[in-house]
Amino acid sequence: MFLDLDANATYACDEQIQVLIAQAMAQLGNPSSVHRGGQRARAAVEEAREGIRELVGALPGDQIVFTSGATEANNTVVDAATRMGSGSLVSTQIEHPSILAPLAREALRGRDVRLVAPQQSGEILPEALVSVLGSETALISVMMANNETGVCNPIIDIAQRAREHAPRALIHSDLSQVVGKQAISFSEMGIDIGTISGHKIGALAGVGALVLRHGVSIEPLVVGGSQELKLRGGTENVLGIISLGIASRLVRERITRRSAQMRAVRDRFELLVLKELSNCDINGMNQQRLPNTSNIFIQGVRGDDLVVALDLERILVSSGAACSSGKPEPSHVLLAMGQDEQRVRSTVRVSFRADQSEQDAERVAHTLVRIAKRMRDEERTVSHAA
């Protein structure tokens, strides 16, 4: 049986959600149609919207805008902020590429883009961010939790300090990784806009959302239809949206228990690995971290090869963020934390699901330790031969 420890790449739909999605497929219509088929679809979309609002703790006046995913949501944020003024765009070096790439494009067009470096621990300090802000700053975007290390940033503090120093800025946080793993309250964060990803919480891929604080207005990235209160053109991905609504409700009901379960399993795993394997280290271990994420450096072992060897034993992990290119580059997150390339390439990410047990943690820990030792023995042989 496969043991999926790559929940941060995608949190595969569990059976309960699969069944509910299949039922929903039977009655899809275009939510913009006047007739009852359209009305049913509209109702389903609005129900999903409320599910997300409750999951992220948004207020009734806050807006939920559906997108094709977190990547589109993040692109929309950068695009909107760029149109809002000519001031600097501020973010961090550890963001997801869906923030970094649009920012890089704006920098090429001559915009002042400033990326703050994290601490060695992986955390973004409010002071470091404040030091690059100006009164003209148009965007401040800081992810709430990093997808690779799981290290959390003090968003409330960051938002508060940012508001003082850059009153005109759109304050954004990518919430993709944190939603579904621990309880959050959008309304208490003090940010203007947040990004949500469907497939990171057990919904389908191809759907995501922006959460806009009441009173915040942005220009759409995708135009050509009046859907989503003219904030995102195009017929709604009704099935995807319904799946996001279902996942939101199921996750919210159990969020405390899910969080505790993931933490217990993850901690058991880390304890075993650290006990049984020498020369390894958990990145960001002493930081506030997502309860399910473990980013492990194992000296003398290639992360990419460890991923392959574990896959052959039916254990799914990754050597960093999920890579769509086929040729993995060393993690920009760990490099930004000041680690050298060799260390970065000797790192794997293990991210647990909420339906896994301590026995699962033991199985993966023992397997990982056995393979790492096998790989290290060979490295010793090779260096003798050379």
Partner: protein
């Protein structure tokens, strides 16, 4: 055409999976197919050796091991229902193959990167990485065969003499031969294509890859781009007469006839020598290429008999052999005299062939079947 039972190293097909190197070409695709037909668990590995995007303006499909080829390999693996991974070998490849390739040309010698790739990348590092995956046996799509006897493992030419690739494999050690499978070496190329069609593999009708997989354009331009070219030099006749100017010794190979652009001679002209210290390219006629013999160094001993003779230091070791001195060469009969473990002298018997320093000379038994040993041709 059903020859599975004759393939050697079937004793390796025990319980642990075999790593099969898959380039995205038809040969390695069929290698994987033949092994799956025997019901053996496989792990498909594509070796990422060179960043084509970074190193070339074009993303040519004429090369092998490019992203498009890996896409084909992935499709084949999916069809055969085996796991498939792209594994990064770029650092080793750059150090052991590319740098040596460029430096050899710059020194006025002729490199053979496929041999370095086989010995340092495919049969050394791939094997180490495979062990990390829990696999001690590696299969490739080479046209060559391995036979086991009481004395050890014997490396033989592939059944299809037109496609035989044993020449590139002379650095294989006994332990490597003992844990390697060459499934396609038992077949001819048309049979391999037929098998690919039978299996419905996407690579069945794919064109042959170029000789040098990492060079999309001209070899000489590649050398200049990566390593910087050597300065201009002179064409000089064997009697010392200056015949003209050339664009750098890295552009020439001993034995080369084409591309000299030296008109007016009654007989065809050849490069008969390259002097790296003066940048001179020596020009002569075919007879000027003729030698009684030549020296080979960096010897690798492959056949169990020779390995034993060398380990017992029974020098000089003499054998009548067939010497193959470049990749497309049928081989010519010669006398081999080894005076130590690293060096070997070769004396032509009746016929002869022009040799290019830097290239490999590989020696076979008189049946031109079993590979005995090989090394690099020394400067003349």
């Amino acid at each position: 055409m059903r020859r599975e039972s004759t393939a050697v190293n079937t004793h390796l097909l025990a319980t642990e999976p075999v790593v099969v190197a898959m380039s995205g070409g038809v040969d390695s695709s069929v290698a994987a197919y033949l092994l799956t037909k025997r019901g053996h668990p496989l792990v498909g590995v594509a070796m990422q050796v060179w960043d084509y995007k970074k190193n070339s303006s074009e993303n040519s499909r004429a090369t092998c091991c490019s992203p498009a080829d890996f896409c084909d390999a992935r499709m084949v693996a999916s069809k055969l229902d085996i796991p498939f991974y792209v594994v990064d070998f770029e650092k080793t490849f750059e150090r052991e193959v590319i740098q040596r390739f460029v430096e050899t040309y710059q020194r006025g010698l002729t490199p053979n990167p496929c041999i370095d790739c086989n010995s340092k990348v495919k049969f050394r590092e791939l094997r180490e990485r495979a062990r990390g995956f829990g696999c001690s046996t590696v299969a490739t799509g080479h046209y060559a065969r391995i036979r086991k006897s009481e004395r050890g493992f014997h490396l033989l030419r592939g059944v299809d003499r037109n496609k035989d690739q044993s020449y590139f494999l002379y650095t294989c050690r006994q332990d490597e031969l003992g844990s390697t499978i060459f499934p396609v070496g038992e077949y001819t190329k048309p049979e391999i294509r037929e098998l690919a069609r039978e299996a419905g593999l996407i690579t069945a009708n794919k064109a042959e890859s170029q000789d040098i997989c990492f060079v999309a354009g001209s070899v000489q331009d590649f050398v200049v781009t990566i390593g910087g070219g050597r300065g201009k030099g002179r064409f000089v006749s064997t009697s010392g007469q200056v015949l003209g100017e050339h664009e750098g010794i890295h552009r020439f190979t001993v034995g080369q006839r084409r591309g000299l652009h030296l008109g007016g001679a009654a007989e065809p002209l050849y490069v008969v020598g390259i002097n790296a210290s003066t940048n001179d390219v020596i020009i002569g006629n075919r007879d000027d290429l003729k030698r009684e013999g030549f020296t080979v160094h960096e010897m690798h001993w492959v056949s169990p008999d020779l390995i034993q003779a060398v380990s017992e230091k029974r020098f000089p070791i003499e054998r009548d052999v067939v010497a193959q001195v470049r990749s497309r060469h049928e081989g010519v009969q010669a006398r081999m005299v080894a005076r130590d473990a690293n060096t070997c002298e070769i004396y032509w018997s009746d016929d002869w062939a022009a040799v290019s320093p830097g290239q490999a000379a590989v020696l076979y038994d008189l049946n031109n079947e079993e590979l005995l040993c090989g090394g690099r041709i020394a400067a003349l």
